[in-house]
């Protein structure tokens, strides 16, 4: 049976492999197209037929010939100026807001984008939408189940201990009955005997001390645990002056984080976007929303929007986004959690020094293709079989973060 199953797996796998190789070139184009689309187009266009800033692109290749699309992407104004009917209708429909030209895109790249749009629409909508949450939910459940396992184990142990206690008690009982030394006591009712014993027990100074020590220890631990919790704001999700939804922008519309948080690959701070970045899209869309109106008011009154800071590091700790995102190749969600599912942003990680250090102990240095690390990797590999970790290059040193 095992044998059979493995054959089946191999068979299925080979089919998948065959299909994959057959579609390799298309897939590659689509993959490149995906990244191009997400970085350049997604801020204004949807792959579905839903209108964002510009029209939804579902079925675009059927609506227009590819040559027209290429010309349009390279220079929309020129196409409009040429008197193209479709182009002019489109232009007027969208309040005469012209698309940004992308003259540097090659025809291949544009075709890649189209391939991606087709692929995105070709995949059955329901499974595509469902797949991602299912995949990401799995590890979460796994984490939960491992916690549940622990509980089951503990309860099991407790049950076993109670059973052992009962067994021991019954043995003691039998033994004392057998010895017959305490014949009189056996006639005393059980409850009375129990209360007498309890009194004796309570009078015992060793037990008293033991209980006091136990209470003190537990109390102390609770205090220390609570004290450690001071200043940790995991789960902190303050209400913001504008009900901005990351779930909508980063989740549904898949706008790249970098589009708004402009410093995330370059600087120390990722930067809360300035209002003019909001205006890139919202000068055209959802203008009537009371939340968007707040941005207009801020701009009109020349009063900056006072967002509430969610992630607060103390001044004594220096943290640089670029080091972690650009150089380390970490994804935003490694620290910020699944922002794309948050209606209101909350602090997912504890941001304690222990949390930083833990990660620096476990994480491999993203040394591949970075000449800065070449010599370090070489030296490290001489006398170690494990990959180069952040801690091996001084990632635990004080002055990496405190100065």
């Amino acid at each position: 049976m095992f044998c059979k199953k493995s054959t089946l797996v191999t068979f299925l796998f080979s089919i998948v492999l065959f299909l994959a190789t057959a579609n390799a070139t298309i897939a590659q184009d689509a993959a490149e197209g995906e990244s191009l689309f997400k970085n350049n187009c997604a801020a204004c266009h949807n792959t579905s037929d839903e209108v964002l800033v510009g029209p939804g692109l579902k079925g675009i290749t059927e609506r227009r010939p590819i040559e027209w699309i290429v010309n349009w992407v390279h220079n929309p104004q020129a196409v409009i100026a040429s008197g193209d009917k479709y182009a002019n209708e489109l232009y007027n429909k969208f309040n005469k807001a012209a698309m940004t030209p992308y003259p540097n895109f090659s025809e291949g790249q544009i075709k890649g984008i189209m391939a991606y749009i087709e692929a995105a629409n070709a995949a059955p909508a329901a499974p595509a939408a469902g797949a991602a949450p299912a995949a990401s939910a799995a590890p979460a459940e796994g984490a939960k189940s491992s916690g549940g396992m622990m509980e089951v184990l503990l309860v099991g142990l407790l049950v076993i201990m109670v059973l052992v206690l009962i067994a021991l008690l019954s043995i003691v009982n039998t033994l004392s009955k057998l010895s017959g030394t305490d014949a009189a006591s056996s006639e005393v009712p059980l409850l009375q005997r129990f209360s007498e014993n309890a009194k004796k027990l309570a009078a015992n100074s060793a037990v008293k001390t033991g209980i006091i020590v136990l209470v003190l220890l537990l109390g102390g631990k609770a205090t220390i645990d609570a004290a450690y919790g001071i200043g940790i704001h995991q789960g902190y999700a303050p209400e913001q002056p504008i009900k901005f939804s990351h779930k909508l922008h980063a989740g549904q519309y898949q706008i790249n984080c970098n589009y708004c948080h402009t410093g995330v690959y370059e600087g120390k701070g990722a930067n809360v976007p300035s209002a003019n970045i909001c205006m890139n899209c919202h000068n055209a869309i959802k203008r009537e929303s009371p939340e968007i109106q707040k941005i207009y008011r801020a701009l009109e009154n020349d009063e900056p929007i006072q967002w509430v800071r969610v992630h607060n590091l103390p001044d004594l700790a220096y943290f640089n986004h670029a080091q972690h995102t650009n150089v380390g190749g970490l994804e935003c969600k490694s620290c910020h959690g699944e922002i794309e599912k948050m209606e209101v942003v909350e602090q997912r990680s504890s941001l304690t020094m222990g949390w930083c250090i833990d990660c620096h102990r476990q994480t491999d240095v993203n040394a591949k293709g970075n000449a800065y690390y070449d010599k370090l990797v070489e030296i490290h590999n001489k006398d170690s079989k494990t990959p180069l970790k952040v801690q091996n290059i001084g990632g635990l040193e004080c002055s990496k973060c405190h100065y």
Binding site: I230, P304, Q306, W307, Y372
Partner: protein
């Protein structure tokens, strides 16, 4: 003192083992209040805390902690509304600009963070300033955030707005012009050609206008001797340098440029091919100046002898070159004949400079220069420099005209003659006679407060401007921040009043397009980007001014005397504060003067024998008088000063500059009045402590600190003068550095290190200010400096050495009248066997894998064991919360002043230790840039603040693991030569090496 052939001392109190010194030598924190101190109320005077205060603080502390623990305050994060395209928060922008303050000039780069300038560094594209900056230029960024500047224009002492000021002032100007009344614009040297054009436009509109230029530190004598121009001087070509009282490394004309040139001639190498020649530098002067401290041979004269010293030198040179001698009493000054011999021997590569303001003396010096072939080589009359354009005669006649009531209107263009002109008092008395007066000064200072209108000029970092420091060499100033207060740059004001628009930025650009760039290849934007525009090559002229030496000698004979027994006064400029234009800058006030090591004051310096003769000691307050002007100030005993002379620094005694400057010291400008030479001195019976840092943070009794040799010995053996400590072990004598308890560190990545060349360090201390700016070092104030608690991470140790033989024990006890001086920059040595690291109970100071000794403030609990155990005494303890505390009312105590804080460096709180971090924030930033570009850092890309700011490149910083780096190459050459570690015998293996000082003196045999 077994390890060297000299005895070094930092101060007379150290040499004589005075009780105050002995008391403090083992008390590095100065935390033992004496009984009398307890009467004081202030926390700052070191008197400790009272019981009630303690209870109050305890109660408040408990309450605050429990409140703080309940809920953390909500923090806001406020982005731009409209983010400027080129500003990315947390990423610094650099702009090329130009620093000018009167005739002080430097082409600079301004570092701005989130739109505020926080640091100034040199612009290496400039062939004039070559990236060198003085301490004052570094400190100028703090003057931008001076809260005591005027917040807007004023009329009759009351705030007004620009429109009404313009209306009122132009109406009155028109009135004056209609009547043909005389109008004067008074300024210091203006380096800006466009500004001069603006003034010309103003003069065209009001034809009775004359522009009077004067300088507080005048070089009029030199200009007059050269027919109205200031010749360009190049010390880098000189083999023999003779200076008659010109402090060209510290204060004279363009000191950082000169220091860079001078250093080129002082660099030597220990390897076989290494340079074994140096310039020989003679200094004849009255005070012990920063330049004199660096001279090979030095002798003193009295101010009344100066002219005759020039004649004696001329005659000595003339005798050797066969020229005719001039008449004049000869003065006996040590080394003068030797200097003449060297000058003639290195003919064509010799130079004589003089700091005298007397044109006749300068003429004698010019004639000497002509004899030794300096013109065309070391002095270039073909390329005028514009640093000092002041005309003393014109200014004097202006003051007379004001007194006579013949001036109808005056505009003081950023000039403060009431304070910084010798006849300031006379001018102040006469000013009410002027019908219309206006000042563009940035504050209601001594002069501006006497004017009817004040139209405050913007700071140079808020302004457009240009400069022409040398004929044909241009540079631009661009605003790096919008105006903080309602100020307007003076050029725009002049344009407004002249009715020629009000936009100086456009005016400047069109002037450049028309007259400077002239449609050439370099566009305005390129010039603005580079900061400098230098279309022409240097034109060299060997022409020397024609001088009637006999006439000059005759004039000199009348005013100078070969010998005098009288007590004489001389006035000098301090390296830190200069003329006092930036007196309200706390960084400059707390700047320890290179030689005296005193800050927050000026004082009367006298030599030890003179002090003994007058029965005075350090700190005695005396009344000094000359020509009817009297001041009271404390005495500072200064070795190396001419006998029977008193010297007082200018730049102090401001009365209307702001709280950091007012009442600090006394005004010495009135002593500059002609003929004020003979002085009286009388003790007042009072005494005052001088905030002097020289014996603070001493290295206890360990003294293998300075190593030096003379050139002749060095040429024969690069190891001469080097001291290699050995230790007797069971296996015989061993090098101290070969025995260690520790395993040492292995550096796979970088190994940061520093080499400091004692031969080229002039002690100018620009690095001290640069370090303070980079690392948010707090200013602690006069009293705390006296309490020995200054916070500078970088200190320049100044050692005097006795000229007595090492065997002459009696002689060694006497403070030399003319000691040799060594400057030694001292900062955390980043030891590999660091004594501080092993004693920290909480591991707050640790060693990094890149060789840095790290200090973690948030971990420090303030036991101070590390400082106790530091052999170099480079750790500083935060006794107080120096920010937001009224006891320390400097820039850290107001929101505007705090704008200068470097956001990448923690502001340390009370109770923690701090020290040089080797600018770890810069190292990290440089590494990150390299990592982002997927490459190794290039040598020189990462620079620490002190190395970056050293005008003479005495400090070399770099990665010792990179064989291509400058520091590796330097150490490769010097490790078997001049390189040594301070206190090598304790084998703490510092990452900072020093290069032994070599003096170009005769060897003992030659002498």
């Amino acid at each position: 003192m077994e390890n060297s052939n000299k005895r070094y001392w930092k101060g007379i109190e150290e040499l004589t083992n005075e009780p105050s010194f002995v008391k403090n030598i083992h008390n590095e924190f100065g935390n033992m209040p004496s009984e009398t101190d307890a009467k004081g109320d202030s926390l700052v005077d070191g008197s400790g805390t009272h019981r009630r205060d303690f209870l109050k603080m305890l109660g408040f502390g408990v309450a605050a902690v429990s409140l703080a623990a309940c809920e953390s305050p909500v923090k806001k994060t406020i982005p731009y509304l409209n983010k400027p395209e080129d500003v990315e928060p947390t990423i610094a922008n650099w702009y090329a600009s130009t620093y000018t303050d009167g005739g002080d000039y430097a082409s600079i780069l301004v570092k701005t963070r989130e739109g505020r300038p926080i640091k100034i560094e040199g612009n290496k594209l400039s062939s004039v300033s070559k990236g060198t900056l003085s301490g004052r230029a570094h400190a100028s960024v703090l003057s931008l955030y001076d809260n005591e500047k005027l917040k807007g224009p004023q009329s009759a002492g009351k705030a007004t707005d620009w429109a009404s000021l313009d209306t009122a002032f132009t109406a009155k100007l028109a009135e004056v012009a209609a009547k043909g009344g005389q109008i004067r614009i008074v300024s210091n040297t203006l380096l800006s050609p466009s500004t001069k054009k603006v003034i010309a436009d103003f003069a065209a509109k009001y034809p009775t206008t004359q522009h009077i230029t004067y300088d507080a530190n005048s070089a009029y004598g030199l200009t007059a001797a050269h027919g109205g121009i200031l010749p360009a001087i190049d010390f880098s070509q000189a083999k023999t340098i003779v200076s008659l009282g010109a402090d060209f490394l510290g204060t004279w004309i363009a000191p950082t440029e000169f220091a860079a040139q001078w250093a080129i001639t002082r660099r030597v190498g220990s390897d076989k091919e290494g340079k074994k020649t140096m310039s020989r530098h003679y200094q004849f002067e009255t005070i012990l100046s920063n330049t004199g401290a660096n001279a090979d041979y030095r002798a003193t004269y009295k101010p009344s002898q100066e002219g005759l010293v020039a004649i004696s030198l001329y005659n000595a040179v003339a005798k050797l070159t066969g020229a005719a001698a001039v008449a004049g009493a000869s003065v006996k000054v040590d080394h003068l004949d030797k200097a003449a011999k060297d000058l003639v021997a290195s003919k064509g590569a010799s130079i004589v400079v003089s700091g005298s303001t007397d044109p006749e003396v300068q003429k004698m010096v010019a004639a000497t220069n002509a004899l030794v072939g300096a013109y065309g080589t070391t002095i270039n009359t073909g390329q005028a420099v514009h640093y000092r354009q002041g005309n003393d005669a014109a200014m004097a006649s202006f003051i007379q005209e004001v007194a006579a009531g013949s001036i109808a209107a005056v505009i003081f263009y950023n000039a403060n003659p009431v304070y910084n002109h010798p006849q300031g008092a006379a001018l102040a008395a006469a000013l009410p006679k002027v019908g219309l007066s206006l000042a563009t000064n940035d504050r209601a200072d001594e002069t501006a407060s006497l004017c009817q209108f004040i139209a405050p000029d913007s700071h140079y970092l808020e302004s457009w401007n240009d400069a022409e420091p040398k004929a044909g060499f241009y540079s631009l100033t661009q605003p790096t921040i919008s105006t903080i207060f309602k100020t307007r740059q003076a050029q725009s004001s002049f344009l407004t009043w002249a009715g020629a628009g009000n936009d100086f930025a456009a005016y400047l650009e069109s002037n450049w397009e028309k007259n400077i760039l002239k449609g050439g290849k370099v566009a305005w934007n390129n010039a603005l980007h580079d900061g400098v525009f230098e279309p022409n090559a240097v034109s060299v002229s060997a022409a020397s001014p024609s001088i009637d030496v006999n006439a000059s000698a005759g004039a000199i004979a009348k005013t100078y005397a070969a010998s005098s027994t009288e007590l004489e006064i001389t006035v000098y400029e301090k390296v830190g504060l200069g003329t006092g234009s930036q007196a309200n800058n706390p960084w400059l006030q707390e700047f320890p003067e290179p030689v005296s090591k005193a800050c927050w004051d000026n004082y009367a310096t006298i030599s030890q024998p003179t002090a003994t003769k007058l029965n005075l000691k350090q700190g005695d307050v005396v009344e000094v008088g000359a020509k009817g002007y009297k001041v009271s100030l404390p005495v500072l005993v200064q070795p190396g000063q001419a006998q029977d002379t008193i010297a007082i620094a200018i730049g102090y005694g401001r009365s209307k500059a702001g709280k950091s400057a007012d009442g600090v010291g006394v005004n010495a400008y009135p002593f500059l009045v002609a003929g004020a030479l003979t002085a009286t001195i009388s003790p007042t019976g009072e005494s005052k402590d001088i905030a002097q840092t020289q014996t603070h943070h001493t290295v206890m009794a360990r003294q293998a600190v300075v190593q030096e040799t003379v050139l002749g010995d060095f040429a024969k053996d690069p190891l001469s003068g080097r001291y290699n400590p050995t230790i007797l072990t069971s296996e015989g004598k061993k090098n101290a550095t070969d025995i260690s308890l520790w395993n040492g560190h292995k550096y796979n990545n970088h190994a940061w290190g520093m080499v400091i060349d004692l031969n080229t360090c002039t002690g100018c201390s620009a690095c001290v200010i640069s370090c303070s700016a980079e690392n948010n070092v707090p200013v602690v104030g006069r009293q705390e400096v006296i309490n020995r608690r200054e916070m500078h991470w970088m200190r320049i140790d100044r050692y005097y050495s006795s000229d007595a033989e090492v065997e002459d024990l009696k002689g060694l006890e006497i403070a030399s009248d003319n000691p040799e001086v060594v400057f030694q920059p001292m900062l955390c040595q980043h030891c590999n066997n660091a004594p501080c690291e092993t004693v920290c109970p909480v591991l707050a100071t640790t060693h990094s894998t890149e060789g840095l000794n790290q200090m973690t403030y948030n971990r420090c609990i303030g036991t101070r064991y590390c400082a106790n155990n530091c052999p170099y005494k480079v750790r500083r303890f935060n006794w107080f919360r120096y920010f937001q505390t009224d006891d320390f009312d400097f820039h850290f105590n107001n929101d505007l002043g705090r704008m200068v804080i470097n956001p990448d460096v923690t502001v340390r709180s009370r109770g923690v230790m701090e020290k040089c971090s080797m600018c770890v924030q810069r190292i990290q930033e440089g590494k990150l840039t390299a990592k982002k570009e997927k490459r190794r850092p290039v040598d020189g890309e990462i620079q620490v603040a002190c190395a970056q700011s050293c005008p003479t490149n005495a400090i070399t910083f770099g990665d010792m693991n990179n064989p291509e780096s400058e520091i590796s190459k330097l150490l490769e050459v010097e490790k078997e030569g001049r390189a040594y570690h301070v206190i090598e015998e304790i084998n703490v293996k510092p990452n900072i090496s020093y290069l032994m000082k070599v003096r170009n003196k005769d060897t003992k045999k030659e002498a």
